[in-house]
Symmetry: C2
């Protein structure tokens, strides 16, 4: 994902090129971007293993060191030597959990590879945990019920520094756990959720504001339990973003990250996406999208609407109007195509001097940029991100709210070849849904349905295939097209089959 910031930055500073070497200057878009280019700290001890953080999950604050020094996912359990090798841009060795070590929940497959030199470290991060949710207290008089366990997979694609991605990968599942605490009893109860919980002081204040006739017409609604889990995940992302803002200095959590998380709870999958990572389910060969990308192109109208309502956020340098190309000052007075915040079509307007400002949203597809700086519009962090050589903050336009899609695992009989694939954009930029489905089919066919390593083999093949092989002219795919020079991380989660639910 860094490329989406860096490549814009490159143009801004005049041609660094999207694939700058590790010696490129730090991303100019983050005022505290030093983490992106500072010399690597001595390889830290491997972060606490799954068992350790699973314990932490049930007892509260997690145990990673106060400074989020660079590391790879805890479940890889890399030795310092392995960590150095994983960090080598020239070899780009694919990393996966060793069979000899602890297996991931559900026999999940995972593989990752570092970028081709765009950033010093692999700025993707990942997490896979079984998390226990302890009741905060019986919100309804129901002492009988126990806590809940959810399964969790998270991918975090960092940009302008790896700090935010590292921090989110270590803490987001705890934020989700904390948001679920109030719901432990409710989710295990067959009846509909209560609209009002009975705890809290029975404070009686004065008459409520608002007209009496208004309050008269309010009636009760009901909503299904899964909408509470969706709300819990949405708020967990929000709290995670707040925590990154509060602790970013102490933790050196610079930059920002896209976040893609999958939660399995009580028979349902919840796939939450904020950014341009993507998730698909492959079921009996059929492709079911479980996310959509949030970019300046897909969120154009939200961004323009905000710029229109809050012009002060544009710093007198940007216009909320969209224009198809650069306007030259000699064109003032002519009619130029434009698009306003509430338009989907294009029309001509007479150019005024104010229109010479730079469009808030500019470009198409992968090249689309917001404030000429960033190519994703949702994610965590980026609290320090500013437009190059200005004091214009990007953060007000970024959303930390994920789109959460729900998939009911109980509505379909899944076979061992049905999987949920999570990948950062390094995968999807060069391998489309159908190609991913074909790789899944081809690789799984080569292994027994109950062979737990088969999903790791799929993940590795997806990463290798998207990275390509190093030739004279860089990393090349089988068809000789350019492979992905970005960090690539992939989870392959089996939806069915023996022993996957333990």
């Amino acid at each position: 994902m860094l490329g989406r910031v860096r490549s814009a930055m490159a143009q801004l500073v005049g041609g660094l090129g999207g694939g700058g070497s590790p010696s490129s200057p730090p991303s100019v878009s983050a005022s505290s971007g030093s983490a992106a280019a500072a010399p690597p700290p001595p390889p830290p001890p491997a972060a606490p293993g799954p068992s350790a953080s699973a314990t932490a999950a049930s007892t509260g604050p997690c145990r990673e060191p106060p400074r989020s020094s660079f590391s790879r996912p805890a479940f890889l359990q890399l030795t310092p030597e392995e960590l150095l090798r994983a960090d080598d841009h020239t070899g780009r060795a694919v990393q996966s959990p060793r069979e000899s070590r602890r297996r991931l929940p559900w026999s999940t497959g995972y593989a990752e590879v570092i970028n081709a030199g765009k950033s010093q470290h692999n700025e993707d991060q990942a997490c896979c945990e079984a998390v226990y949710v302890e009741k905060r207290r019986a919100v309804r008089n129901n002492p009988g019920t126990k806590g809940l366990t959810f399964y969790y997979w998270g991918l975090f694609d960092g940009h302008a520094g790896s700090g935010a991605a590292v921090m989110a990968s270590k803490l987001l599942h705890f934020q989700i756990r904390d948001q679920l605490r109030d719901l432990v009893d409710i989710l295990q109860d067959s009846s509909l959720p209560p609209i009002c919980l009975e705890d809290g002081p029975r404070t009686v204040l004065g008459e409520p504001t608002g007209f009496l006739w208004l309050r008269k017409m309010l009636r009760s609604q009901t909503m299904p339990c899964h909408s509470l889990v969706v709300g819990a995940i949405e708020n967990a992302f929000k709290q995670m973003d707040i925590q990154i803002e509060q602790e970013r200095v102490a933790r050196h959590a610079s930059g920002g990250c896209c976040a893609l998380a999958a939660v399995y709870l009580l028979g349902k999958f919840y796939v939450a996406n904020a950014g341009d990572s993507r998730a698909i389910i492959i079921r009996n060969g059929e492709i079911i999208p479980m996310s959509r990308e949030f970019t300046p192109e897909t969120e154009r109208q939200r961004l323009q609407f905000l710029g229109f309502l809050r012009p002060e956020l544009l710093g007198n340098e940007f216009t909320h109007l969209e224009f198809p190309r650069r306007i030259q000052h000699k064109e003032v007075g002519k009619k130029m195509l434009y698009r306003d915040q509430n338009m989907n079509g294009w029309a001509y307007k007479r150019i005024e001097e104010d229109d010479l400002k730079f469009p808030l949203v500019y470009g198409e597809g992968k090249k689309a940029r917001m404030m000429a700086t960033i190519g994703v519009t949702r994610g965590l962090g980026d609290h320090d991100l500013k437009v190059y050589s200005s004091n214009i903050h990007i953060k007000p336009f970024l959303s930390c709210t994920p789109e959460v899609r729900v998939y009911d695992l109980t509505q379909y009989e899944h076979c061992p070849d049905d999987v949920l694939v999570l990948g950062t954009d390094g995968l999807w930029d060069v391998t489309n849904d159908r190609e991913v489905a074909n790789v899944v089919f081809d690789v799984l066919m080569g292994y027994e349905p109950n062979d737990p390593c088969r999903y790791t083999m799929v993940a590795q093949e997806l990463v290798v295939r998207s990275r390509g092989v190093l030739k004279e002219r860089g990393w090349r795919l089988a068809n000789d097209k350019l492979g992905s020079g970005d960090d690539i991380s992939v989870f392959v989660i089996p939806l069915g089959g023996p022993g996957n639910y333990t």
Copy 2:
């Protein structure tokens, strides 16, 4: 549509009931709502016929009298006696163009019926025209090309007065024509639209604002011609809304209206919708939705986002948060389900006194209301609409921008039974897509494919079927369920067949 305002108002003032009689007080939601309940003016002379306004279409300002007195669509050519009959709530006679009179373009079928007494007049309006677009001037040196003709169908569902609907029905197609003037040459040219038109003074002002490095990175984009037609229609709705605001006093154009317009131009249909009317194409029995409804439920997040960014618009009476039911002051301090502007799920929050305000958006489905007042969130007019007994304006939350869907008529071989159906919510509230498709099939089967009256027969059957017949217990459908007590208006437009394109 009035029901959506009136029924809320009814609750507000304590039980008027959604189906109040003509003697009900005027809608309390419009400060100048008198037109809704004032005694009917003497039947005006029929508005200028199609030929007259077709002429007007090519020469500029249309010729209807300055005061938009109540009338029925010009193409019905009703005599004063017929107008009185059409205005009778007890008989609810279905109105259609007489075969003996001028036929609508494309042999379009049309039928309408007045409401069961919810408002004094039928607040739906309709328009069907062939409109000639004269070049404003050759924007590119192309004197050879002539003007263009587009075909136009419009339905306008008024609320809180009929003035806005009457005005829009007489003027919106001229606004579309004016927006298309610059495009006459461009749309007839096979090459892509120019990004900048060459007219206008070549004013040279000082250096443009914005960073040099920003302007450097701007490149050219291209967009297809149909996106310019979409933009023209979007801006025509905007201009129509501005004109209503400017002339509403002189024209007594009270209230507001939903607007659904279909434009046929150069082989493509453009269906523009702002409100809760709906359009579907029925092609070879298949149903293709050509619009979606804009209500407080479907636009919840846009409304909440605006209320969140501009709390002053909530007048200290409403909260942008959504709650599932009325909150009682004794519940302050407890945890209640809520939904914020960026959430799709629900979560619990501890109730503060500020949460006792009324939710900006409240209710589900047809009962959903914005500011407890209105059930549609897009349309024209409503500049005077305020929350009952307050000075809180509704208009800032309403959008006049339509969603425009494009259907390429040349991509498919259409048969005489393929139709585009436009209907106000009076139709869709009681007759669903499949039932409409069945009526289309059954009725058309009874007529020769080249019988031009067959589409009128479909429209009439759709209206009669949705109105029902008057029994002791009100208007009842064949299945004895309640018929629609709302105004009902329907266009049935043939997409193929002999002679329909002239």
